[in-house]
């Protein structure tokens, strides 16, 4: 009996994971950088962009639901379901950022730091939960790698910091430190995590994992995964942010834009491919019996 491909989740769910991750990464990275730089005046544009990305991702997921009216119940099973936790975390992140903006416009005060830290924690959890949603599916070996949640988290952070580098290049955010250097580190970390993840699944003997891996490197997902996820998603950003960090800054804005587009493309395509390539393990003894 052959492994069964997972067909339920595809483009819209991977877009939700991607947009939610990028939005949370942008909010978290921006607030952390602002706190470290001692900035008390926040960029409305960056925070609104982050919130819009998170909300748009959630709306895309809602469009996938058969009965979206019942989605309000999705806060109920936070004890065991990562999707329920994710729904709650998305809500908390948006609410805290809106509160933070209100407090900041009213003059800040002691609540500013508390809300900023809360928003950073919520953003980190929103960035982390999609990987845990997939990891908790015990039967899909392609998702049962401990590297996967970490990879998704780093991709979210790299997407957010990439957007910040781009914003900084076009209109200085004056953090006083090189965001491009941070982004270069994150892209390197993503490349390392992807390599560790791939080496783990490439060596697996489970039939479902082997079929998924074949899909990624030989099958119909090869172009999206190898060319899009690895070449465009990692090699282009490494070149761009490396050049931005160590070389002249003549083309800084263009390099930052190209690198960020690469990171965003890679962050989406890797998620999409890992969703589409997933297979359930075969049902078992029938093949032994025959």
């Amino acid at each position: 009996m052959k492994p069964q491909a997972q067909k339920e989740w595809g483009t819209r769910v991977s877009l939700d994971f991607f947009l939610g991750g990028a939005g949370a990464g942008l909010i978290g990275a921006y607030l952390l950088a602002a706190l470290l730089a001692g900035q008390r005046r926040l960029s409305l544009g960056i925070l609104i962009t982050g919130v819009v990305l998170v909300i748009f991702g959630a709306l895309l997921l809602a469009s996938e639901l058969g009965r979206p009216a019942n989605a309000v119940r999705s806060f109920l099973n936070a004890g065991t379901s990562w999707m329920a936790r994710g729904a709650g975390l998305n809500f908390i992140l948006v609410a805290v950022v809106v509160l933070l903006l209100i407090v900041e416009r009213m003059g800040g005060g002691g609540w500013f730091d508390v809300l900023a830290v809360l928003a950073i924690v919520a953003a980190a959890l929103v960035a982390a939960y999609p990987g845990l949603v997939l990891y908790s599916s015990r039967d899909i070996g392609l998702w049962r790698s401990a590297w996967l949640p970490l990879l998704f988290f780093v991709y979210s952070l790299a997407s957010g910091v990439g957007l910040l580098v781009m914003a900084d290049a076009w209109q200085s955010l004056s953090f006083g430190f090189s965001l491009a250097k941070v982004e270069l580190g994150l892209v390197l970390a993503a490349a390392l995590l992807l390599a560790l993840y791939c080496s783990g699944i490439a060596g697996s003997k489970a039939a479902g994992v082997m079929q998924g891996w074949r899909q990624l490197i030989q099958g119909k997902l090869r172009v999206a995964f190898v060319t899009g996820g690895v070449a465009v998603g990692l090699a282009v950003p490494l070149f761009c942010f490396g050049d931005l960090t160590f070389a002249a800054r003549e083309w800084a804005a263009l390099l930052a834009t190209a690198g960020t587009v690469g990171v965003l493309a890679g962050a989406f395509l890797v998620r999409y491919c890992l969703l589409r390539a997933a297979c359930h393990e075969p049902l078992g003894f029938l093949s032994k019996a025959s």
């Binding site: 058969g66 009965r67 019942n70 989605a71 599916s137 039967d139 029938l286 019996a289 025959s290």
Partner: protein, 197 residues
Amino acid sequence: MKYTMVIDLKQCVGCDNCTVACKLDNETGTGIRWGRVVEEAAGQFPAVKRSYLPLLCMHCEDAECVKVCPTQATSKDENGVVRIDYDKCMGCKYCIVACPFNARYFNEAQRPPAGVPVMGSGDERKGAVEKCDFCHDRLAEGRQPRCVEVCPYEARFFGDRDNPDDPVAKMLREQKCVTLKAEEKFGPSVYYTGVES
């Protein structure tokens, strides 16, 4: 009480009587089969062998679908039956992705292609995920699940494995009964006997 089904693979001939009866009784839509029989051929001519594996929701002890359901639409009742409250389901399909036995279906209320007869409406399940519930309504009336009742080769047995006098409990004690994906410890309530080693 723990409702349990035992399926004797030596008796099953793959007639799909159970599949059709289940569809008719539960009015499932096109492409949705709460119960089905998977067929596999092995070997080379002339030593070809055909095997049949009836599949349905395994009503796992450690049910992945119950754990991942964000709305608590899926739950286990006191008899070990995994049930779906369609009014609570939001149709996110997480349970379908998590189910190790491919036993769940999303009801998109698709109309069949022209010329294909409409197989039940299942309107109350439109937009929700659905699956076998061991014919819960029939059990409440003291009857057997439909697939057990209609099997012409008496390949299916249903009962309470917590009751030592129940024929199913005796089968589990006295015969070699196995479950699918036993090594994963999902604790299915559907057992198979007559499995060749």
